[in-house]
Amino acid sequence: MRIVLERRLTPSRSMQYLSPLLAIVLSLVTFFIIFVLSGIDPLKALYIYFVEPLTAVWSIEDLLVKAVPIILIAIGLAFCYQSAVWNIGAEGQLAAGALAGSIIPVMFPLLQGPAVITAMILMGIAGGMAYAAIPAILKIRFNANETLTTLMLVYVANLFLDYMARGPWRDPAGFNFPNSRPFDEGQMLPIIAGDSVRISIVFMLVAVVVAWFLTTKTMTGFKIRVLGLSPRAGSFGGFSRNKMVMLTFLISGGLAGLAGICEVAGPIGQLRTTVSPGYGFTAIIVAFLGRLHPFGILIAGLLLALSYMGGEGAQVAIGLSDQTTQVFQGMLLFYVLACDSFIYYRLKFVRERALDAATAG
């Protein structure tokens, strides 16, 4: 007797909701086992990781602050992945947005006020879009694999950011630290709640709702999905694959750029040699954990932001390495992808040896 996958006649609706939950439970169980094996009190560790950040107002605020860029980026990536465009370079597009958005506050420190902040945001979005347009054009014109080009461009963008923060844009009054001048309050996003929740949370919520509307209610969203599922069917329907590649790249690049400028004109408050602890990569996990659905992404983004918070807490409280968070995130993505297959397939127990030979694997 052996177990094989059998295609379901119709995708399971209940598994669509259950699979992310199942993945989370499996990740927690795995972590529990790992903690036990390494001699750490597992309940205490899991409490520090996933409950403690929710027990204080400041840490809930911090959680929201971290969730904003992750969700913004993941919303954009979901468009790409739905149309089978493998943009994995959001981390670089974020840096490009941060750089472009910082032009005004770094080079014209006297310019301040709402109009300036608006211009900074628009420049950040434009920066991210422009940087995402490079792999889009290389894919459309030259057939270059976007997975590899977007990832290579992450290294290029981060090195350029490093150069700018250490070189031309270094604050002359900054004691030789590799940072730009600190932005003034009139060059930062306004705080709208508590001590640290800025207006970027509104941008994020708007992005979620607009993305939901675009994907479920408009022709463009339909085209994106059809071309993702079957490029041939899409071309018979007269949809241009190239246009969709460009469109999804621009959307995701723009949102990553927005996340970038919101970070430097928000929690960070200046341009540094690094402006993201890997949000662009975490967003990939969030996009899949949220099943590429805007509302799912909202929830998944909050969960992954929680894992960042918990990671910091666990580092202080029980001396866990900060890499633990990344291991958790990577493992979670493995489980999500594995569980997702139960949406389209079910396990079947096969008895006959003859069948075994035909389906061996």
């Binding site: 996958l5 057939n143 694999n145 995130q329």
Partner: protein, 314 residues
Amino acid sequence: MQQRPGDVMTMLEGILLTIVTAATPLLFAAIGELVAERSGVLNLGVEGMMAVGAVCGFAAASTTGQPILGVLAAIIAGMLAASLFGIVALFFVANQNATGVALTLFGLGLSGLIGDSFVGTPGIPIPKVNIPVLSDLPVVGRLIFGEDPFVYLAVALALATWWFLFKTRGGLIIRAVGDNAHSAHALGFSVLKTRFLAVLFGGACAGLGGAYLSLVYTPQWTQAMTAGRGWIALALVVFASWLPGRLVVGAVLFGAVSILQLHAQAIGIGIPSQFLSMLPYIVTVVALVVISRNRALLSVNTPACLGRPFVADS
């Protein structure tokens, strides 16, 4: 400053020697990925497998004092990491792009976790090959007869891979599974088993490439020391249009770019170091564009089922 011809020769020899060592880890990782892709599996987790191999290789070598045990540990670690990918992408039919990215994120994190206690530990030197007389020949002596043993292993592996893929029945099965999984299945070959083995081989090679980095290239462990080499190896496979012979040429070219930019940084040619550090990545993009624009040429050797999941219809 007057330079004597002898100095120039020594410098040239030094540069050529370092190019070879820079090319070796790329070649290891790319050979493994080439075999996996020939079987129709796109494993984007090379970077993660290399990182895991690098840290396990270093950990095993420095705890036991035996470099060879380090190499074995790296190979096993790479295979274990690859098997995670294989289980999820092959047996659970998950999207290969996403699963590969998961492996890279997981592997980079895990390597950091394991490596935490090994940061700053000195490595164990691995002696270079030394053949009397031959190794002492000017320029070519050390270049051809005086490398570290891994260099010869990498070249031999490339040759063996070519022979295996194109001259043996096993290689034919791998290529059949990669070009037309359903026909291969109908002929009675196990698609998933073949692909899983190819993925494991990919993991072993990536682990070996990682071990080369932490044991030979820069004998120490530092966080994120793979520095995108796994991704460059992936690009190399496309660049070589899935042919092992071209892989050797490609690896040397990419090794040359990364070494020459280092030398340029060292002598200071007035270009900020960050721009020089960008070069290997930019060259990778340019190389991809140049190769990919000729779709007809590329499609000759591209495995037709690359990246497509397979489920047997029973």
